[in-house]
């Protein structure tokens, strides 16, 4: 009963000065709108930029690194067991780059329910021969189907069919930059020389564009079989196994586990791409700060208007107190006023924020480095709307706190006597 009465009085006071109320609410609406739009746009952009790298990066990569054996013969000798052995100029041994027993590992990984997908890969360093000039490049041997489903490979193939590398023998998809250097068109044949001085002719079946020009100048893709042939390796030769996880955050511990289990090196995405995490979090931080500043400004507006309202309503406060409303009741009345400005202003802000985000989502955005993007990216994360509504209530509560306290402290005797 008391709560309903308080809300009723608050409503009457609010509507009596509806123009002021409207101005205060518009302040909140504006800041919430901007907060939502800013965060949606900024995060959309973040996701886009991160996606450039992270979408195409395995959550965990299993490989064999070329490195010196940690267990040198002298350490195994019984005579020197108790001593510190200093060995200089250790060379890496003739260790294999391939993953031992790769087929069995892949089968085991496909059964692991923490892993959503497995894609094998071979990297081969080659020279592309263009007349007398050699251009260094990399051929990635991939399974086009797996690569497309896990790492959006087909999105970045701008010309040609990505599956052609599986279907056409001795075929290759060249990076756009590399193709430009080689003056190669689809259907042309390019000549490559391996590190072991063997020459191969490969037919160009497509171009791809990753968005990172440096990458496009050296990278090219062929099927696993073709790459094995170029390198002169058997059909179980795999240098990398790429994994996508159900939960990306699980990658670091699982990577350690797999490294031990399969006796290979394992690198998780967080370690490999820590700079992107940093970039995203700083950008989010900036958008949050701007949004919060907007809300604080709106909060001061509400503070001013409530203060003015309290001066205007001194008589009403005095009479409420004289007729039996306690200081707490008066305090609540003004808090309800502040919170309802925050609530309704915020609600409208969420709505307009959504509209503005949708509008930005329609603006064309074409850039040669991002072939899959047609309009400005927007992230419609419901979390932003939740945060914005919590912020709007918290800010208006804080803005209303001091004026409400002041109202509750009004001494009716002074007001009634003062007339």
């Amino acid at each position: 009963m008391n709560v309903r009465l308080i809300i009723r009085i608050a409503k009457a006071l609010l509507l009596a000065r509806w123009k002021q109320t409207l101005v205060a609410a518009i302040g909140v609406t504006f800041s919430i709108t901007m907060f939502i739009t800013l965060l949606s746009f900024m995060t959309g952009l973040n996701d886009l930029l991160d996606g450039l790298i992270l979408n195409r990066t395995a959550h965990i990569r299993l490989f064999n690194e070329i490195k010196p054996n940690l267990d040198q013969p002298i350490n195994q000798s019984k005579d020197y067991q108790g001593s510190y052995n200093f060995i200089r100029s250790i060379k890496s041994g003739n260790s294999r780059q391939e993953i031992y027993n790769s087929q069995a590992i892949m089968q085991a990984l496909r059964k692991d329910n923490r892993v959503t997908g497995v894609a094998p890969k071979i990297t081969a360093q080659v020279f592309f021969n263009d007349g007398s000039i050699d251009i260094t490049g990399v051929i990635n041997g991939i399974d086009a189907r797996e690569e497309s489903s896990l790492f959006h490979f087909s999105d970045y193939v701008t010309q040609g069919n990505p599956l052609d590398i599986q279907n056409v023998s001795n075929s290759i998809i060249l990076g756009k930059g590399l193709a430009a250097k080689l003056l190669a068109n689809i259907g042309d044949v390019v000549l490559v020389t391996t590190a072991k001085q063997q020459q191969f002719s490969l037919k160009v079946v497509g171009f791809f564009q990753s968005g990172l020009q440096e990458l496009d100048k050296v990278q090219s893709y062929a099927s696993i079989g073709t790459t094995q042939k170029i390198l002169g390796k058997p059909s179980d030769y795999i240098t990398d196994i790429q994994l996508k996880m159900v939960d990306v955050n699980q990658a670091p511990p699982v990577a350690k586990e797999f490294a031990k289990l399969f006796n290979a090196d394992a690198e998780d995405i967080q370690t490999a791409n820590s700079q992107f995490e940093t970039g995203s979090s700083v950008r989010s931080l900036i958008s949050y700060s701007v949004g919060i500043v907007l809300l604080i400004v709106a909060g001061f507006g509400i503070y001013n208007i409530l203060n003015m309202m309290i001066y205007e309503k001194m008589d009403s406060i005095a009479i409420l107190k004289a007729t039996g409303f306690s200081g707490l009741d008066v305090n609540r009345i003004f808090l309800v006023i502040a919170l309802s400005i925050g609530f309704f202003g915020g609600l409208l802000g969420l709505f307009f924020g959504f509209l503005l985000s949708m509008l930005i989502d329609q603006i064309p955005f074409n850039t040669p480095s991002l072939p899959t993007i047609r309009t400005y990216p927007i992230n419609y994360n419901p979390a932003f709307y939740l945060i914005a509504s919590i912020f709007s209530l918290v800010t208006t509560y804080l803005a209303g706190w001091a004026p409400s306290r002041k109202a509750s402290k009004v001494d009716p005797v002074i007001i009634i006597r003062g007339k």
Binding site: L5, I9, L328, D411, R417
Partner: protein, 227 residues
């Protein structure tokens, strides 16, 4: 304690301390019985309004003791005192002090809704009953700021009566009204006192008004010189 005593003040002293200490009430004691129509008179600045604010529990900065309905008011929290005002005291001020955001009916209903004993429908009936008694039921739907001064004061009286208080306190209720309206307001008080046995405490400097009440308390320089 006598059942019939509604309000009792014992040895009430009060001083203003800004900027120098000036005593305004000196050892004031008074008792008001049920059904009495009492007026407090005195020259401007004699402390009669100050006394009324202390008796109404709104001013708590005083020495001495105050009992309303036999209950001591000293040491009570602000919330408890608000409850006492809501339940047992009705107020009428010189400046009618209605809430302009509400209709006449709602103004009268507010203290009743705050009390929370009756449902809204019941409070509405009670409020209409009070307005009928004062002959202003036709004003119920009007906004408070559309009324004349005399009408406003009658609405304020209706509001003071909504919770059937044990005492109605009035601070110069006719001070801001013309002769005709003053008479109407006085007749209402008289009727309340005689027909409804409503206890009334009226602070006024209107001698004619005071003479027509049951008992007149005269004050001078913060003391009661005649009760």
């Amino acid at each position: 304690m006598d059942e019939r005593i509604v309000l009792q003040a014992e040895h009430v002293n009060k001083s203003f301390h800004d900027p120098v200490t000036i005593p305004v009430l000196k050892d004031v004691s008074l008792t008001i019985k049920k059904g009495e129509f009492v007026s407090v008179t005195g020259k401007s600045g004699c402390g009669k309004s100050t006394l009324l604010y202390i008796l109404s529990t709104m001013d708590t900065d005083y020495e001495g003791d105050l009992y309303i309905g036999g209950q001591a008011m000293r040491g009570r929290t602000e919330k408890q005192l608000a409850r006492v005002r809501n339940e047992s005291i009705g107020f009428v001020f010189q400046f009618h002090y209605l809430l302009n955001e509400f209709t006449v009916l709602e103004n009268v209903m507010l203290p009743g809704l705050k009390l929370g004993i009756h449902s809204e429908v019941e409070v509405k009936d009670l409020a209409m009953d009070r307005l009928n008694t004062l002959g202003i039921q036709s004003l119920a739907a009007k906004k408070a700021n559309q009324l004349s001064g005399g009408e406003k004061q009658r609405v304020a009286i209706a509001r003071a009566l909504i919770n059937s208080p044990s005492i109605v306190m009035c601070d110069e209720p006719t001070g801001n009204l013309d002769k005709k309206n003053s008479l109407i307001v006085f007749d209402i008080f008289k009727k309340l006192a005689e027909e409804n046995k409503q206890t009334l405490l009226v602070v006024t400097h209107d001698q004619e008004f005071a003479q027509n009440t049951h008992r007149t308390i005269e004050m001078e320089d913060g003391r009661i010189i005649k009760q």
